[in-house]
Point group: C2
């Protein structure tokens, strides 16, 4: 009772192994009827190809390494969903490397580990330039690489247009009336996790507000931490002139504002309007107006960019842009 092989399938279907392989890999040149019987045999035997044999015969590893920071969960869950979906369709395996700290990055990329066995590399949220240009001992990965949720010159990338997201928030906030305030996320000091998303959201927001002929009456900064977020919320509501409209550049910050507003008995939509960013799972339940990001689509597209390279596509780097979408809920009206 061993695991069925391609031989077993071929015998069962009354064809050669070559034909089975062709069916498996969509090599077009196979008659519809034979394809049917092969697929039938595969189903009956509950056959799944041995990936290792596949890798050694094909010369490729059929594996993609995904370098993933471990910060906020929700975002990366969705990102992985998109990536894995696309790669699975193309019969690629995904090896996940959670970058829990900096030393792991260097170890992972240090030649002999899995990261270098892979046919391709997906890097999430990292500043390639910083990583590979600084005087680190990290040597660039030689295979095809795609950046996701980050933008850089010279590399394929799929990124979220946070400038646009900020602008949408700014336009919407400007027409709500009331004094304008904003809370930004303090950029991490650790270079590895440096991100420009919050800077981008800010510049978009400020630009839109200015174009609307308004001014931001106060700006605040918080670390990405519930305690600090609450403290900032307290300070903001102490100082703010009501009615106020606050753009919080992350839902975590917006949530703290909702909490503090509730503690003070402020009425949302009248005394205070809040706009978040991320559309976390709880945002709907709490009625938070926020910017929803098509994260899965971004992951899926990033995978497609890599897959086309793997199947031989040459040409200049491509950048795919994704747009956050405003979801209006009760916190702003």
């Amino acid at each position: 009772m061993h695991k069925p092989t391609i031989q077993d399938v071929a015998r069962r279907a009354g064809v050669g192994v070559g034909t089975v392989s062709r069916v498996l890999n969509n090599h077009a040149a196979v008659r519809a009827s034979t394809r049917e019987s092969v697929l039938g045999a595969i189903a009956e035997l509950n056959y799944t190809p041995n990936p290792h044999a596949r890798r050694i015969a094909g010369g490729k590893s059929y594996t993609i390494s995904v370098l993933l920071p471990v910060v906020t969960t929700e975002f990366y869950v969705r990102l992985l969903d998109g990536l894995e979906h696309a790669f699975q369709e193309a019969r690629y395996d995904v090896a996940i490397f959670p970058l829990l700290d900096r030393s792991r990055l260097e170890r992972y990329l240090g030649s002999h580990t899995l990261a270098y066995q892979a046919d391709g590399l997906v890097m999430a949220t990292y500043n390639l330039t910083q990583m590979f240009q600084q005087g680190t001992n990290i040597r660039p990965y030689s295979g095809p690489t795609v950046l996701v949720d980050a933008f850089a010159e010279g590399v394929d990338c799929a990124y979220m247009d946070n400038v646009l997201g900020g602008r949408v928030a700014g336009e919407y906030a400007s027409q709500l009336g009331g004094q304008l305030y904003a809370v930004w996320v303090e950029t991490e000091l650790d270079q590895l996790f440096t991100t420009r998303v919050f800077d981008d959201r800010r510049s978009g927001f400020m630009e839109a507000v200015e174009q609307a002929g308004q001014t931001v009456r106060g700006e605040y900064t918080s670390s990405f931490d519930s305690l600090n977020a609450r403290m900032v919320a307290v300070q903001l509501l102490d100082e703010a002139v009501l009615p106020a409209t606050v753009f919080a550049s992350a839902d975590l910050l917006a949530g703290a504002l909702l909490d503090e507003a509730q503690a003070r008995g402020l009425q949302l939509g009248r005394d205070l309007r809040v706009i978040g960013f991320d559309d976390q799972p709880w945002a709907q339940g709490r009625g938070l107006t926020t910017l929803h990001q098509p994260v899965e689509a971004m992951g899926y597209e990033a995978a497609q960019l890599l897959l086309t390279r793997l199947s031989g596509h040459e040409g200049p780097p491509r950048a795919r842009r994704f747009e956050p979408r405003l979801v209006v809920r009760s916190s702003s009206q």
Copy 2:
């Protein structure tokens, strides 16, 4: 200029491929001098064996799957260090499956990737019984499995003795003098991430305090969240009779106490003594007395348990116990 193979090494060293393979796998029966020359050739050619060929020839995958919750970073970083170290020594690859959410677990266990790839499974911090016995559609992994940082009957496991840790804290706290207080971590509702560590720490602590003829004057509960931790610290210090000794069952909670104590101008060691649990990287810098856990050793040992199974060890399930160690710093004296 292709990647060197075992053939190249054999030719270079003037031996047969079998000998090279024997050297690679420590198959004892090889003369020291030939071993040397083979290792020399390997070094000169910068040869690394093709893992996929190895897997297909040997019938094994030489890969271990590690199911890892993504919660607090520091702990799992160290755990992974220990695991990866051991597996690397034994020439096994480690595939990490970050369990960002529940649906991923089912997908991982259901899909052929994990089943195919791995010779063994390491599960961190999960309650096996709960996972496999509840009416879920999760079917148990058939290969050898080891639990790490969790204890269950019928499975090999390496676990931290949190009861002992609590007891040590209790004994130490009891002899410090002053009123005793404790802060516990609220257990997660999500069954997947249910953990008994905080219950264990509590029962050990209470037992030790009782044995010392003392009583705990107040118990508090906080979620694992800096904001809530601070709120609880505020409440505790509002109500506490000074001088007080507080056992915080996680450094996160202890840190909030230090913050609040500082804000109130309390003098640590005189008005307030704090004992944490975890020995986070910042604990030393802030002088926090806390319980250090040999996490790397636990991971290493868990890997060894699995490796012995892989090399054919039969016999009843084994449990390896690890002991937290009290690190006394200025916050308690």
